[in-house]
Amino acid sequence: MRIDSLILRTAVRLVLPLTVLLAIYAALNGHNAPGGGFIAGLVTTVGLCTYRMAFGERAFHRLFPVHPRWLVVAGLGLTLVVAIIPLLAGEPLLRSASTVLRLGGQELHLVSATVFDLGVLVVVVGVAVGMITRLGEELGP
């Protein structure tokens, strides 16, 4: 499914990096402000799918060369690791740890849950992009 439009292509080329940046911001910032891994994953997916609509499948493959299943594997693995590590320390499953880094007067709040959120992001992107591309392949160009 491709929409052949110069305006769309130009717009997507500008918007996609911003979309990805927004997604990363939402994922990292989600602990204390609106955002989170799930939203970030969905935002990324929408960006990627728009790109695929504008530029077609071949260009999308160049941009996104891995099979989405690897994203799913990586994301699930990451979340599982984050979930299990507290068990090794004798804490309940998924208990998050947090620390505050001081960098030149700025406080940086680091939470292990952020890694969990990143895992969720990766899984969501993998699943959604995977489904859409597979269904798109089914339909043909």
Partner: protein
């Protein structure tokens, strides 16, 4: 005395399976090493049990070992009970197990692949059996019980290419497995009612157990389990059916071990439930019917293995009867049970040799059928005479001839029956049945002797039959030496009772602390003090000789109970098929109707129980903002419009409209996370829908359920779920009656407003996200796993088809496939 340490017993239970599995590491050709290693398993069990018994003595049956905690939340621990009953059975299993290992070497010959396959399965089975006999915990017993069913399935279905053998193995598995379920149910009921989970504690507190309905139900369930395992009528059919197994298996499972598990369990239950009024009639009735039926059926068989199988059924019925008599309460408070373990041991000591010799004959002559053994003694087949001698020696014990333990055992049983009948005259019927069954045994032996020596009254009508025979080779002596050893013990015990008594007196303390005899008597004692038992024995022998010589009751007969399993199996399949197709229509809307109806019924029931659910919670204003009202109206309008439009594309757009209105609602209530997620979700789902729509088959124009009730149902479900959501946000705590809102808890425990986080939530300020990654983090993990699974489904069910275009250059799509 301090409770014993369980690790010795645990090692004894585990040794056979460990040794069995270890034989897998031995190279194929090394048969001797394989056999020796396999024999080490049960031998180690014997040794360890011996050490345990010398160190701690035979425990009274109310003193289990200390336990190793296993699953504390299920009250489950690894605790064992090495009392007389358990130790006896365990020693029997381990001892016969060693002999079987050597015998199977001779039986399978040089068939290396069979041997390689056999020992792990045998070790698994031996360990499970030891576990059943030594477990002290109720659930542990049930667990090992199931393991014996599973492991015996492997052994019975040994000929995995033989369809009949596999079917028979399934039959045995399902029948005993059904009993295992009953046992589990009974054990759970018992443990839950009494709060006691150990046999030893149950025995110690047996007087407090009472006779309430649940206790009786628990007992009946456990009895069903025991009866199915010990092949009691009407479930006895699986045992003769299981005779397709190789002979070592038949000798082991069906004479000495597995079928005794049920008898053993009755011995365990007797001190606990023996005082229930139902014990005597229930146990004795099933035992007596089985005893006579098995003997009668055995008389009409022509295959040695089947004869012995039905005789085993009969003998098991006798044992069940024997424990049934334990429930007799006469004026003196004594139960009519005496030296029960000797009687059970006696059976193993002649039945296992009979099976072993039957297998050895098949090995030498290629047949186990009686007519084909006619005149065997005179045929002069090399090595067959020693087999015949052992066979006849064991048969003499089978007939209960004087000079064997078996004779005294029968005397003891008849004496117990007579004793019981004195206080319960109805039991005279059982006594008569016992005499008839014993007569059948004698008759079979008479025919066997006549056939082997080629006398006129032997069995020789030549009926065609089929027999499974395993390979032959020259490992001859192994085929009869184990059998001869076992038979020898029969005669030692029979002729020199003090030797037997010195061993068994230590074990026979279990059921009856005060046995009314001091042990097996000398051979001549019954004749010096003739009484009712001796008269009954003589009557049985006389009747048996007449029956054996007569030409009547010789034709083959098919047990009518053999139909039970196939018919049940077919009925279950048939109705299961029907039920399956009734429920699984393949239409999503039918499933939804089903699910939603159940949901509505459940909620209605809850509302009926607690009418407060129907009140609007305090502090909720129905219409607090005009914008919200408008957005809600849009959502409702879209929902109503949805079923009215028929085009799928339009439906998707209408659904989208509803979704975007919800986004607006979220924004209105400042739920930015939700709004953002919903927005993204709407975009992606519209995209997905547009992609999928072209793949869907055409709409079915003739729905099975008319749409109008479905619309009503949908509206009702929507309203109900909306209402429940409203209530969920404002639930009142049942105990404190304070208004509790779900949000308050999370607000308190995340870093929003307050500094109190009790370490949860990673001190996040965004409640929604803290819920997702901490409070409900496990849910999130589950959700993304579900997502991944769904993606896997899409990838595997929609394989890339772009390479398989058809001739017109059209892509091969699912829709196209459906059209085709």
């Amino acid at each position: 005395m301090a409770p014993a340490d369980p690790s010795l017993v645990l090692a004894a239970v585990g040794a056979p399976v460990v040794a069995g599995l270890a034989t897998l590491l031995i190279p194929r050709a090394q048969n001797l090493a394989r056999v020796l290693l396999a024999a080490c398993g049960p031998a180690a069990s014997l040794l360890l049990l011996g050490v345990h018994l010398t160190r701690y003595g035979v425990a009274p049956n109310h003193a289990g070992t200390t336990s190793i905690n296993w699953v504390p939340s299920l009250h489950l621990d690894l605790s064992f009970l090495v009392d007389g009953l358990g130790a006896f059975f365990a020693l029997l299993v381990a001892g016969v197990g060693v002999l079987i290992v050597f015998y199977s070497r001779g039986y399978f010959g040089n068939d290396a692949s069979s041997l390689a396959r056999f020992f792990p399965a045998l070790g698994f089975f031996t360990s499970s059996m030891l576990g059943v006999f030594l477990a002290d915990h109720l659930l542990l017993t049930a667990l090992f019980w199931e393991l014996t069913s599973i492991s015996s399935f492997f052994l019975i279905g040994w000929e995995r290419d033989d369809e009949t053998a596999v079917k028979r193995a399934m039959q045995a598995f399902f029948t005993t497995g059904f009993g295992g379920l009953a046992l589990l149910g009974g054990v759970l009921l018992l443990g839950d009612t009494t709060g006691v989970w150990r046999w030893s504690d149950l025995v110690a507190t047996a007087s407090e157990i009472g006779s309430s309905g649940t206790v009786v139900a628990a007992f009946v369930l456990i009895f069903v389990g025991a009866a199915s395992k010990s092949a009691q009528w009407p479930l006895h059919y699986w045992l003769p059916g299981a005779m397709l197994a190789p002979t070592p298996v038949s000798a082991f499972l069906h004479s000495a071990t597995m079928v005794k598990a049920g008898v053993f369990l009755l011995g365990r239950l007797l001190p606990v439930f023996g005082l229930l009024t139902i014990w005597l009639p229930l146990v004795v009735a099933f035992g007596a019917v089985t005893m006579l039926l098995g003997a009668g059926l055995a008389l009409r068989q022509h295959n040695l293995k089947l004869i012995f199988a039905y005789l085993t059924v009969s003998q098991l019925g006798l044992f069940v009867c024997m424990y049934g008599f334990g429930g007799v309460t006469d004026g003196h408070g004594g139960s009519a049970i005496d030296w029960d373990l000797s009687q059970i041991a006696s059976h193993g000591l002649y039945k296992a040799p009979l099976f072993l010799i039957a297998g050895a004959l098949a090995h030498r002559l290629g047949t186990r059928r009686l007519p084909e053994l006619f005149g065997l003694w005179h045929r002069g087949v090399s090595g067959s005479r020693v087999l015949v001698v052992v066979l006849l020696a064991a048969s003499y014990a089978l007939a209960g001839g004087p000079g064997t333990v078996s004779f005294v055992a029968k005397e003891l049983f008849l004496g117990a029956a007579h004793h019981a009948a004195a206080s319960h005259p109805a039991l005279l019927v059982v006594v008569a049945m016992a005499v008839l069954a014993a007569a059948c045994n004698v008759a079979i032996v008479v025919r066997l002797v006549a056939t082997v020596f080629g006398w006129r009254l032997g069995v020789r009508d030549d009926l065609p039959g089929r027999d499974v025979v395993h390979g032959k080779d020259r490992w001859g002596p192994v085929l009869w030496v184990p059998a001869a050893g076992l038979v020898l013990v029969q005669y030692i015990g029979g002729l020199l009772p003090p030797v037997w008594n010195s061993v068994f007196r230590r074990l026979e303390v279990n059921v009856n602390d005060e046995a009314f005899t001091d042990g097996l008597p000398w051979l001549w004692e019954p004749f010096l003090h003739p009484g009712a038992p001796l008269a009954m024995s003589l009557a049985a022998i006389g009747l048996g000789v007449v029956l054996g010589c007569s030409q009547r009751m010789r034709g083959d007969i098919v047990d009518v109970h053999d139909r039970i399993y196939p018919v049940t199996y077919r009925l279950i399949l048939q109705y299961g098929h029907r039920a399956f197709h009734g429920i699984q229509t393949g239409h999503l809307r039918h499933y939804l109707v089903f699910v939603f109806t159940l949901l509505l019924l459940g909620i209605s029931w809850a509302a009926w129980v607690d009418p407060a659910m129907l009140r609007l919670p305090d502090g909720v204003a129905p219409f607090e903002s005009l914008t919200g009202l408008l957005l809600g109206a849009v959502v409702c309008a879209a929902a109503i419009a949805l079923p009215l439009v028929t085009e799928r594309v339009v439906r998707v757009l209408v659904l989208g409209a509803s979704g975007f209105a919800v986004v607006g609602l979220y924004l209105l209530y400042q739920a930015i996370d939700l709004a953002l997620t919903q927005l993204m979700f709407e975009i992606i789902s519209v995209l997905l829908f547009l992609l999928v729509l072209r793949l869907l088959p055409r709409l079915d124009r003739r729905p099975l359920i008319s749409p109008r009730p479905r619309l009503a149902l949908a509206a009702l479900v929507g309203i109900t779920i909306g209402w429940m959501t409203l209530l969920a946000g404002h639930a009142a705590d049942q105990r404190t009656n304070e208004a509790v809102t779900l949000g308050a808890f999370f607000e308190e425990h995340s870093l929003h407003g307050t500094e109190v986080t009790d370490g949860r939530g990673g001190e996040g300020r965004n409640i929604v996200n803290v819920i997702l990654v901490d409070f409900r983090g496990f849910d999130t993990l589950g959700e993304i796993t579900v997502l991944a699974t769904a993606a896997l489904g899409v990838w595997s069910m929609l394989p890339g088809r772009r390479r398989h275009r058809n001739d017109e250059g059209q892509p091969g799509t699912i829709a196209a496939e459906v059209e085709r």
